[in-house]
């Protein structure tokens, strides 16, 4: 059964762009144009994800998000907004959104975030507490913070471990640079100079040097993916 995504967006060209892209990615999409309808549809509780614009007619996007959360509906919500300042994002997350993406966005970024959100809500439903993560021959012990690949221990710095853990939790999915900056470093600005690439490069050398197969893959135009096999 395909996953259902609700798009609440009053700009019809953006809505059409989203609907088309998400349908191609295999999601079932429903769209509405204002916050009131969005709240009404969301309250049915049949969606796996809600994508909401901030500036909506009828009921403002953030007010809608607050109302949805107020109604104890836990469907993940991703806010899409042209309001791109750091504090705008803070407001969005405070209102109860799970993620905040600024317009204009690359579709690769959006789809990586959607997948992360959808999978996360699956995980919390099925496997709440994990102490070990495994990706192919790579094993990560979250308690002792020991990483081994094919039985060989790989020493990692604290930040490298966090980076690997994050990627392992999203194993097989594309993780973007901004997602990593947000989750690992808690920065919401672009530090430039390919900062994330440098950190990934170091991590990759430790994970792959001396091993036969690559495990940390670069996804062009989008980000990185931790998986045993190349996609």
């Amino acid at each position: 059964m395909s996953r259902k995504i609700l798009i609440v967006e009053d700009d019809s060209s953006t809505a059409a762009y989203l609907a088309k892209g998400l349908a191609e990615a295999g999601y079932a999409v429903e769209a509405c144009k204002d916050g009131r309808d969005g709240l009404f549809l969301a309250s049915e509780g049949i969606f796996d994800l809600i994508i909401a614009d901030r500036m909506l007619p009828g009921l403002d996007g953030l007010a809608m998000v607050s109302a949805i959360r107020g109604a104890k509906i836990t469907t993940p919500i991703l806010v899409l907004s042209a309001l791109a300042a750091v504090d705008d994002r803070v407001d969005g997350l405070k209102a109860g959104a799970d993620d905040y993406l600024c317009k204009p966005f690359s579709f690769a970024e959006l789809s990586a975030r959607i997948e992360a959100l959808v999978r996360r809500s699956d995980r919390t439903a099925t496997e709440p507490q994990k102490t070990k993560l495994a990706v192919g021959d790579l094993e990560i012990d979250l308690l002792s913070r020991i990483v081994t690949r094919a039985g060989r221990s790989i020493p990692l710095g604290a930040r490298e471990f966090n980076l690997l853990e994050f990627m392992a939790r999203h194993a097989g999915q594309v993780v973007t640079r901004t997602m990593m900056l947000e989750k690992i470093w808690n920065y919401h600005f672009d530090p430039g100079s390919n900062v994330v690439d440098v950190h990934i490069g170091r991590l990759r050398r430790k994970l792959e040097d001396g091993f036969e197969s690559p495990i940390l893959h670069t996804v062009r135009g989008a980000g990185y993916r931790l998986a045993q096999e190349a996609a």
Partner: protein
């Protein structure tokens, strides 16, 4: 509007002057009236007592003799007479038949001579043997005095009216003049001349001077913000032109490409160019927002930890670029309220600038230290530095040095650092690292 306020001030001060003067005149008038009447009353009673004492000791003869000698020459207002049982004058000075009721009266004011047009008298009437002793004084004189006082008071009222109007006009002129100076400046500013200031007297500390000083402060900030806005807009347009021009060229080239693979590469390059433009716009928004960030966005952060986090992020980047990256935490002050995200971004910009422009020196140092007037976060490089003379230009918002012109958006980065420093009540400054540059954010403690 302004004129009518001045007029109102004038009218108010005139009205106040008149009211106070009228009250004063009224009090004086009443007091004078009372005092004159009291004097008549006292004299009447005293004289009456004296005459009755004389009667008791010397009889009627003594009284009449005393009456004859009691009246000073020219004193026509004195009333002093002996009346018989029927009320007719026997002796003394009084109308032949005063219109009084023959009952003992200690003091009374009445018209006792209906035949003539004389005024009221104040009198006392007491029996002496078979006769009655009438003492008193015509109030003519009192009233004459009263009228004189009234005339004087009336004159005072007229004078006070004139003075009040004069004072009001002077006050209105003074207030109006002071306000006009301020209003003229505001008017000029409203018409776009932001450089105008209200002249403030050096030693003057009155309310108008304070108002003018505050206004000048406000105008100073306004002018600075306007200038910055203009520079931001100008340089944003300037900065955006080159990437957009490149974008256009590349798009054109991509359109003309026949080979699909080459076209794909060209198209993804277009995305990179687009992202650059987007990033510049985001920074520009962040700068303009940071002018008005409210303090509730601040969180308590230990400065040393903030620095360490950034260092951790950039150290590998610098090393990959062949630069030695040193983190020097010289002080560990307690947590302070900062906008973590913006401050981090500003420090990231400092490091980014150092890595871009100071790469030749081979080393970049991120240092947290105690400065004289606060906490300094500085990034030191060993590159070419900026000559003393050029530093002011470099600091001026968006006034980029020509050597930096090739790096797009560098001016925006500087502007953001400065805006963030100011948001925290601190400042951004450049210093000489001999050789190299020190770029420093100083935060107040």
């Amino acid at each position: 509007m302004r004129l009518s306020v001045t007029a109102r001030i004038a009218l108010l001060s005139i009205a106040l002057a008149i009211v106070t003067n009228l009250v004063l005149v009224g009090v004086v008038w009443r007091q004078g009236d009372n005092a004159a009447m009291q004097a008549v009353r006292r004299e009447t009673i005293e004289k009456s007592d004296a005459m009755r004492a004389l009667y008791r000791s010397g009889g009627l003869a003594a009284v009449t003799t005393a009456i004859d000698g009691a009246r000073a020459p020219g004193d026509v207002s004195l009333l002093l007479a002996v009346l018989d049982g029927a009320g007719n004058r026997l002796a003394g000075f009084a109308p032949p038949r005063p219109a009084v009721t023959l009952v003992p009266t200690s003091f009374r004011v009445a018209d006792i001579d209906s035949s003539t047009a004389t005024r009221d008298v104040g009198y006392a009437l007491h029996p002496i043997g078979r006769y009655w002793l009438l003492t008193g004084r015509s109030l003519d004189l009192v009233e004459a005095e009263q009228r004189a006082i009234e005339r004087a008071l009336g004159l005072a009222v007229v004078l006070s009216l004139a003075l009040g109007i004069g004072a009001g006009l002077v006050l209105a002129r003074f207030v109006g003049g002071r306000l006009d100076r301020i209003a003229a400046v505001i008017e000029a500013v409203g018409e776009g001349d932001l450089s105008r200031r209200v002249p403030v007297d050096a030693g003057g500390g009155d309310a108008f001077d304070r108002l003018a000083a505050r206004l000048n402060l406000m105008l100073g900030k306004l002018e600075r913000l306007m200038a910055e806005l203009r520079v931001v807009t100008d340089s944003l347009a300037h900065d955006l032109r080159s990437p957009l021009a490149r974008l256009r060229t590349k798009t054109e080239q991509a359109v003309l490409m026949a080979d699909p693979a080459a076209r794909d590469v060209a198209l993804s390059n277009l995305l990179i160019e687009t992202d650059l433009v987007m990033a510049m716009l985001t920074t520009a928004i962040e700068i303009s927002r940071s002018e008005a960030v409210s303090r509730d966005r601040f969180t308590a952060v230990a400065p040393a930890e903030l620095i360490e986090e950034i260092a951790e992020l950039y150290e590998p980047v610098a090393e990959d670029a062949g630069l030695a990256f040193v983190t020097a935490i010289e002080t560990r002050p307690p947590a302070m309220k900062v906008h973590r995200e913006l401050l981090s971004q500003a420090i990231a910009n400092l490091i980014d600038n150092a890595m871009k422009h100071g790469a030749a020196g081979g080393a970049v140092t991120l240092r947290l230290l105690d400065a004289v007037d606060g906490l300094a976060i500085q990034v030191e490089d060993r590159g070419p530095g900026i000559a003393e003379a050029d530093r002011a230009v470099a600091m001026k918002r968006f006034g980029r040095l020509d050597s930096a012109r090739t790096t797009p958006g560098a001016g925006l980065g500087m502007a953001l650092i400065e805006a963030v420093a100011r948001l925290h009540g601190g400042r951004y400054e450049l210093a000489d690292n001999a050789p190299g540059l020190i770029a420093r954010i100083v935060l107040p403690r």
